[in-house]
């Protein structure tokens, strides 16, 4: 406690002590306030959707397709089916391509080509989705000659791939190099090292990226107008128009009937529940045997 006796230095420290203490508390309060501001819209959206959507939910809602326009009743089963098919098809195309290109960029992409790919990928990730929809329309829809889930899935995969590529690359880069070296020093080949050591260690980040991209594509509407069009019917083939929850919500919102708006809220609630449950499911399925610590 010798420094307290030291008059010159000590009084100076004590003067600024209160200021510094206040600054510390103030910074914490600002952070907390911002979090609250950020959470309010999220909470109120969830509240509104649940409040307005819950009354629409009943058995018929989940097992039947829509009735004729203007006639109340019916359900959104065909839209739920369409959204699930789209998520599945899109993931089938987008997840492998996204992960493998992420691996390329993280493990082999330290060159000019890698730089160009990274830049292009980042631009693609920012692309307006309607433009991607038009692209899919001009290529796949016109080629097949029909609106189709295939065209929808390809358009959504174009949105999905850059997200997964980027998150995979970032996650792999966080894996310490010492693990790669440990593995290579055991005479394990590069590819095995990447798949069994690096990718496994980065699993959480990669899964988060996939989930993020699925949430993103499940909520897309614009590219679907140009590709799957929407439909009153259930899935009837990879080259026929199909419905999706977002399209259904959009069309219902345009109708002048109260029942339609209620159904729309219900569809929105279902969409949120689907995305949320996929997230939880993925977390459970890929849960690590061990908690990673201080790698």
């Amino acid at each position: 406690m010798a420094y307290i006796k030291d008059k010159g230095g000590c009084s100076r420290i004590m003067q600024t002590y209160l200021v510094r203490k206040f600054k510390d508390k103030f910074a914490y309060a600002v952070c907390l306030a911002c979090v609250i501001v950020a959470v309010i819209p999220l909470g109120s959206i969830l509240f509104e959707v649940t409040k307005n959507g819950l009354p629409a939910l009943n058995m018929e809602f989940f097992i039947e397709g829509p009735r004729a326009i203007g006639e109340p009743g019916g359900g959104i089963a065909n839209s739920i089916q369409g959204t699930l098919i789209l998520i599945g098809l899109t993931s089938l195309i987008g997840v492998p391509i996204g992960i493998l290109s992420g691996i390329y960029l993280a493990e082999f992409g330290n060159n000019k080509f890698g730089k160009i790919v990274r830049l292009t990928n980042n631009i693609l990730a920012q692309f307006p989705s309607i433009v991607i929809g038009i692209f899919a329309y001009l290529t796949i829809v016109l080629l097949i000659g029909s609106f189709s889930p295939l065209a929808g899935a390809i358009a959504l995969a174009i949105i999905m791939i850059p997200i997964i590529t980027r998150t995979t690359e970032e996650s792999l880069k966080l894996v310490p190099n010492t693990l790669r070296e440990a593995s290579m020093a055991l005479g394990i080949r590069r590819w095995r090292t990447i798949m069994s050591i690096v990718l496994v260690s980065a699993k959480n980040g990669v899964v988060t990226g996939i989930m993020l991209s699925i949430s993103r594509i499940a909520g897309e509407t614009a590219p679907l107008i140009m590709t799957i069009l929407g439909s009153q019917w259930f899935f009837s083939g990879l080259t026929e128009p199909m419905d999706a929850l977002t399209l259904r919500i959009w069309r219902l919102a345009l109708l002048p009937y109260d029942y339609a708006h209620t159904t729309g809220w219900g569809a929105a609630l279902v969409l949120i529940i689907i995305v949320l449950s996929l997230n939880i499911l993925a977390r459970i399925l890929t849960r690590s045997k061990f908690v990673l610590r201080g790698v």
């Binding site: 005479g187 050591i197 496994v200 201080g294």
Partner: protein
């Protein structure tokens, strides 16, 4: 400590009757980008001996041993020239697969680096499993043998399913030694294996290293001159990428030929 030195002396005198060179380098040069890290290294390492590599920071100690199992070339922009003979075969010749070299020349790193997603068992078995060996009985046997060789079996035999990262630092390093031994290498390279450990854990690893000499050729990089004096049969002194002196350890520490070596050992620079 006295007992250990006795054992060390008796083994090395036995070795001297039938000395063979396990590793020989010929004009070995290594670069990082344009910076030359090793300059014309010629060194002959005897089988079943412990060779210590000492020298100040940045003198190329680690680079030298990383050239002995072709790990150096994994660093982007790294380059090697010259020859390294393992049992008379140049490991840098075109038809040699570096992966096979690394299986014969194992390596333990400065910081213990067990695979964080794997159990103790899987850490030891990793080198075999990821090379396609699935026979559970054989794996069990090798895991046990490797852990015994690394003096870790008694401490972990009931916890083989626990994560490797849950062990203490010294245990983790012995786990890494067991992991390296499991692929049955002939040479073991140790890159400052005790510098991240407390003195007790370090001393245990030192004794372990001496015990491994019977079956393996060992090259150890160390910052700690007492450690080099305690464990090694031969010592190489590196300075600014050059091999300044290489001789029997006792001679290096008692009566070095070069003034530079003497100054370094006396602690006049470091």
């Amino acid at each position: 400590m006295i007992g250990m030195n006795k054992e060390l002396l008796s083994v090395s005198s036995k070795e001297r009757v039938n000395q063979t060179y396990k590793i020989e380098t010929e004009n070995l040069n290594a670069w990082f980008g344009t910076k030359q890290a090793l300059k014309d290294i010629n060194i002959k390492i005897r089988a079943n001996s412990i060779t210590a590599i000492i020298g100040p920071s940045g003198c190329g100690k680690s680079t030298l041993i990383r050239c002995l199992n072709r790990m150096h070339e994994l660093v982007p922009s790294a380059k090697v020239s010259g020859k390294v003979f393992l049992d008379g075969v140049d490991i840098y010749s075109k038809n040699v697969d570096p992966v096979i070299v690394r299986r014969r020349v194992g390596m333990v790193f400065q910081k213990p680096n067990p695979f964080p997603t794997m159990s103790i068992y899987d850490n030891v078995a990793a080198g075999l499993k990821l090379n396609g060996i699935r026979d559970r009985k054989r794996l069990d046997e090798i895991v046990r043998k490797s852990l015994e060789q690394a003096w870790l079996w008694d401490e972990v035999k009931d916890d083989l399913d626990k994560p490797g990262a849950s062990l203490s630092g010294g245990q983790q390093q012995r786990l890494c030694i067991a992991r390296a031994l499991a692929v049955e290498p002939e040479v073991l390279l140790l890159d400052e294996p005790t510098s991240a450990l407390d003195p007790i854990a370090a001393s245990k690893i030192e004794q372990l290293i001496v015990s491994l000499k019977r079956d393996y050729t060992i090259v150890i990089v160390t910052h700690n001159m007492q450690q080099a004096a305690r464990v090694s049969d031969y010592t190489a002194f590196l300075y600014l990428g050059r091999l300044i002196e290489y001789d029997v350890t006792a001679k290096i520490f008692s009566n070095p030929r070069e003034e530079l070596t003497e100054n370094y050992i006396a602690g006049r620079f470091g």
